[in-house]
Every structure is written in C-alpha cells, then in structure tokens.
Amino acid sequence: MGLFNWGKSKEEQQQPPAFKSELDALENRLDTFLAKMNERIDILLTGFLQEAPAIIATDDRFGQAYNRFSAAMKGQAGNMREKVQDVSENQIEPVYRQYIDTVSAGSEAYRTLYEWRNRCAEKVSIWEEQLQLRVDQATEQVEYKDYEPVFSEMMHTYYEQCKSVNCRQCGAPLHIQQVYYYTAYVTCGSCQTQNIFEPGVIARDIEHTARKLAEQRSKHFLDLSEQRRKEENEYYRQMHAIQTGLTLKELETQSGPGYQQLLVLEEKRLQAEKEAPELLDKYYRNIFDELNKLLPDLKEHHEKFFVSLQTNYQRYQSKRSTNI
C-alpha cells in the first residue's frame, strides 16, 4: 500500500489506531455472543414447534393453555432481545464514546471507529429482525388452520344438536332452521309456546369462526396489497439511489439517461402506490362479501361495520411526495 500513500496526510499514513485491536476483539465477542444467542433461538423455536400441536389438541375452546405457552415463548424472545440490547448499550456504545473525542473528524482512526460502531449496530439490528421474523413464522405455522372444514363441521354439529331440541310445553321438535348466536325466544310451531332456546357454545363461536374463514378466503388480496406496498418502497429506494448519483446538469435540465430512469421508476412507483390501498379495499370488501354469504342474517350489520372499518383504515393512508 506504500505507493498509494503518496499525497495523503500524515495522520492517514499512520499505523492502525491503538484501539483497533480492542475493537476487533469486541466485534469478535459480539459475533460469538450473537451466534450463541441464535442457538438458543433454535432451541426455543424448535421446542415451541414440537410442543404446540399437542397443547392445542387438548386445549379448551378459547385455546388458553396455548395462549400462555405462546406468550411464554414470546416472553423468552423478548428477554433475549433485552439481553442483546444491553450488550449493545453497555459494551459497544461506551467504547465508541470513549474514543470518539480522541480522534480528529475525517481521520482514518475516526473512520475506523465510526465504521466499527455502525457495523456492530447493523449486526444487532439484523439479529433482532431475524428473531422477529422467526418468531412470527413459527407462530403462523403453529396457528395456521384451514377454517373451511372447521366452519362446516361447526354448522353440521349445531344442526345435529338442534334435531333433538323439543318444545318444553308439548314436546314437539322445535325445528330450528337458523343459527341463533345466543339465547333467544323460539316459538313452537305446534303449540305456539315461547321456548327459551340456548344454542350452545358452538353457535356462540360461529360468528368468530365465520370471520376467520372470511379473512382466510380474502387473504390473497391482503398479500397483494402488502406486495405493492413493498414494491413502492423498493422503487422509492432505487430512485433515491439514482437521484444522489445524478450530475448537476441532469438535475438542472431534468434530462439525461439517469433522469429518464428516474421517470420510469416514478411511474412504476405511482402505480404501486395507487394499487396498494385499492387492494386493501378489495380485501376488506371481500371479507364482508364472504361474511354475508356465510351469515346472511347479519348482512345489515356487516355493511355498517364495513363502512366504520373503512373510515378508520383510510384515515391512515397517505401518499408520498417525490418532487420530480
């Protein structure tokens, strides 16, 4: 490297700063520490995936034992996250602060220190993202349920139970022909007596399950919307990268190959930005269309609920201004 040091400042020609070996050692320790933490994540999530199905299989209808098990898993992930944060705040940052005032800005030593700190922070943040991603994936995997058979099984069982429900006064079958979501007065077709009909726990869970099924049937719209949102972000990121590389002339005249590229990207970005909320709208609309099919007697309520929900998610939709 000797030849190329020509013309550089004296400070820059110096040997690596004295703290370089300390930084290297710390960074190695961080790598080892994060690798060990990853092993624990493996153990935690493997165990979670192994044990959860058995817990779910014997759980009550609210799934409370599983809820506690899953909360405990997330609690452990949180505990590990706090531990890593603690290392970042108390082992890495203080070293950076200890040396940063001893080096002059722009010097090789300054750059070494600065890059070291960014690299460590990046490692921690990638570790955290991975942890979150893996926890989410494991949860999704365990909780995934095909609601089609679940829903039809519930309807079937409910109507089977209803077959043996008779009038308290005359004993004739009550011929229940609809889902009652909760206790209701039901008139006997034979003697006109009002019975108090308790539909049972299955009927009480039907509305909730129908909602889950409707969401499942509509999920492809949500996925597409998410995808468009990510695409929009990606186009924006690419545009930003190109913009910073534009020459002054290109910027002033708003022309040239770089600028043309920018325009193409902006068009794609605008398209994605337009489609993301449209697809989200389709998602919600589809949920309520499905709900109307599954539980037609609640249609009037579903429509009002949809309007209220739509008002709320539209409140948080905003568009980017790119000024090109």
Binding site: I55, A65, A184, Y185
Partner: protein, 83 residues
C-alpha cells in the same frame, strides 16, 4: 453439547408444564350443547304463547321483563305484551 441440548429441552418442558397446568381466570370454559331452558311463568306455571308477548304473563300478570322492548335482532317491538 448433547447434555446442554437436553438441559435446554427441559426448559421447553418446564415452559409447557407451566402453560398447561395452571388455573385460569374465570375457570375452565364450559361445554354447553343446544337445548331449551325453563320458560313457563315462575309465578303460575302457565306456558307462554307467542301472541301474548314477552313482557307479562297472560294469565296472572307476572312481569317477565320490566323494560319496554325495542327492535333488536331476535326481539322486536311487537313482542311487548298488549296489556
């Protein structure tokens, strides 16, 4: 390493035990199937006919519901007793 693994698997075991063995708030969810509850007048034992409404007993005047019924989902204004 294998021992270490076993030790940690027992952590999962402990986590599972805690989740499944605990008493939960409000007790265990009950399994109720569809059926009818007693609806005869608690005062005179008379059955209740649809045309007599839901608020009072048509025979002895006993009050079933002291409020005035409005238009709900299953219960409608027309279910108020005429008397």
């Amino acid at each position: 390493m294998i021992q270490e693994e076993n030790k940690k698997m027992s952590f999962i075991e402990r986590m599972k035990q805690r989740a499944v063995s605990q008493q939960q708030y409000g007790g265990k969810a009950q399994d109720i199937t569809a059926g009818t509850d007693e609806s005869a007048c608690p005062n005179c034992g008379a059955g209740r006919a649809k045309q007599d409404g839901l608020t009072h007993c048509a025979y002895c005047g006993h009050t079933f519901n002291i409020t005035t019924l409005t238009d709900g989902h299953y219960i409608k204004k027309s279910d108020n007793a005429n008397t």
